[in-house]
């Protein structure tokens, strides 16, 4: 394998691996001996030192791994707290509406009304602190009861739950 092709293969392998990749494995992948492979890796490490590059190739725990350069840390931190500006999905809104009007209510009751499993919608609402546990229901399994939070009231500009709009009449059949 040509040095140029070997470089590309090494880059791809080290990039795709979750952990540092031992020299032995890298040499086997390109079919070179370890000494020559190590020289090539050293060249790749030097190339990453260029100021235009944001990542570097490092020898870590007996293997090779790409890491971001330390000076980029402040820019990465902004991504550690992902700002979520997106609204709620239709499924989450539906679930929230049911909880708001029927609280306290169990997951099973919600799923019966919606007709579909609602774990992910409920998790989303819990994560956003729009709903919370309100104790447990008596009875088999003592299922968790869910209800809306203070935050829910704030988000919708409600003084209290009694402030929820009355429901449009549903024709009885």
């Amino acid at each position: 394998m040509s040095p140029r092709k070997a470089k590309a293969v090494l880059e791809a392998i080290i990039f795709a691996a979750a952990r540092p990749v031992p020299l032995k494995n890298l040499a086997a992948a390109v079919g070179w001996d370890e000494y020559r492979t190590e020289l090539l890796l050293a060249e790749m490490m030097r190339e990453c030192q260029h100021s235009r590059r944001g990542i570097e190739l490092r020898k870590i725990a007996g293997g090779y791994q790409y890491t971001t350069k330390p000076w980029t840390a402040p820019y990465l931190e902004a991504f550690q707290r992902p700002e979520v500006t997106s609204g709620l999905s239709q499924a989450a809104l539906e679930t929230l509406a049911i909880i708001a009007y029927r609280q306290p209510i169990t997951k099973v009751e919600i799923e019966d009304i919606r007709g579909v499993r609602s774990d992910s919608a409920i998790n989303t609402l819990l994560e956003r602190e729009l709903i919370e546990e309100k104790g447990r229901q008596d009875g088999p399994g003592r299922p968790i009861l869910l209800g809306t939070t203070q935050r829910f009231l704030e988000c919708f500009g409600l003084a209290g739950l009694e402030d929820l709009p009355p429901l449009p009449k549903i024709p009885n059949k």
Binding site: Q80, V84, T85, L93, A97, L130, P165
Partner: protein, 252 residues
């Protein structure tokens, strides 16, 4: 151990029809209804032979094919008054259109499969280097939803719930086609002449109509009954054609 011939499994009637056409290297637009109908019915028979479930969708298509073949049997007026029943009334053009659209998406599915294959050739970084996330802070956790949205969504959800509950209460009735054929043969024989509507119950479902139609068509094919209609708005009259001894009603 019993020996089984490998039978292609088709997800639906359109797929099967397309397969039959492609097998004969025929263009969809040149479809010959009587030929394809025979091939289709033969295939269904083979499916049954090998204990493959012939679902309702396949039977409905059989009814459609026979109906196109025999010519529109149900009166025009009925089509307009009951749009829900429209589905079972099909013309040759409609069948061609559906086959063309279906084939279009079957080919699109093939392209998606190719994309997926190409995608499986590339690797991405398996883990984020960003480390464990701190608690996420949501600036506006509900987006632009208003409390009025919440109320109307809830009302709609209740409506959907109610509708589902009603559907749940309607028990699915199954009809045995062979029994239906026998039943109709006996009825027509008894009264010698009957209108198609009289064969249906008071509130026939789509399934009732399809099965009744299939049964009548089968009896026409066997030469047991004759079907007449003087005008598109007139009732369809089914009359007994054969002597009693020629038809042996199935048992049970």
């Amino acid at each position: 151990m019993s020996y089984r011939v490998k039978l292609d499994v088709f997800d639906g009637p359109l797929e099967l029809l397309l397969h039959l056409l492609e097998q004969d290297k025929l263009d969809i637009r040149d479809i010959e209804i009587s030929r394809i109908t025979q091939q289709y019915l033969d295939y269904l028979a083979t499916m049954q032979e090998y204990d493959l479930e012939v679902t309702g969708d396949f039977l409905v298509m059989a009814a459609r094919l026979l109906q196109i073949k025999v010519g529109a049997l149900l009166p025009e007026a009925e089509r307009e008054s009951e749009p829900e029943e429209h589905e079972i009334i099909y013309s040759r053009d409609e069948l061609i259109r559906r086959l063309l659209v279906y084939r279009q998406f079957r080919e699109a599915a093939q392209k998606l499969a190719e994309l997926a294959l190409r995608r499986s050739q590339v690797y991405v970084r398996p883990v984020s280097l960003l480390g464990p996330k701190g608690p996420v802070v949501y600036t506006n956790p509900v987006g632009d939803a208003t409390v009025q949205d919440l109320a109307s969504i809830y009302a709609n959800t209740l409506l959907n719930w109610q509708a589902r509950e009603e559907v749940r209460q309607v028990k699915r009735r199954t009809i045995d086609l062979t029994a239906k054929i026998g039943e109709i043969a006996l009825l027509v024989q008894k009264y010698s002449q009957l209108a198609f509507d009289e064969l249906l119950g008071r509130q026939p479902t789509k399934t009732d109509i399809v099965y009744t139609l299939l049964a009548v068509l089968e009896l026409v094919k066997q030469g047991i009954v004759r079907v007449q209609q003087s005008d598109v708005n007139e009732p369809i009259i089914i009359s007994f054609e054969k002597e009693q001894e020629d038809y042996v009603a199935p048992e049970g």
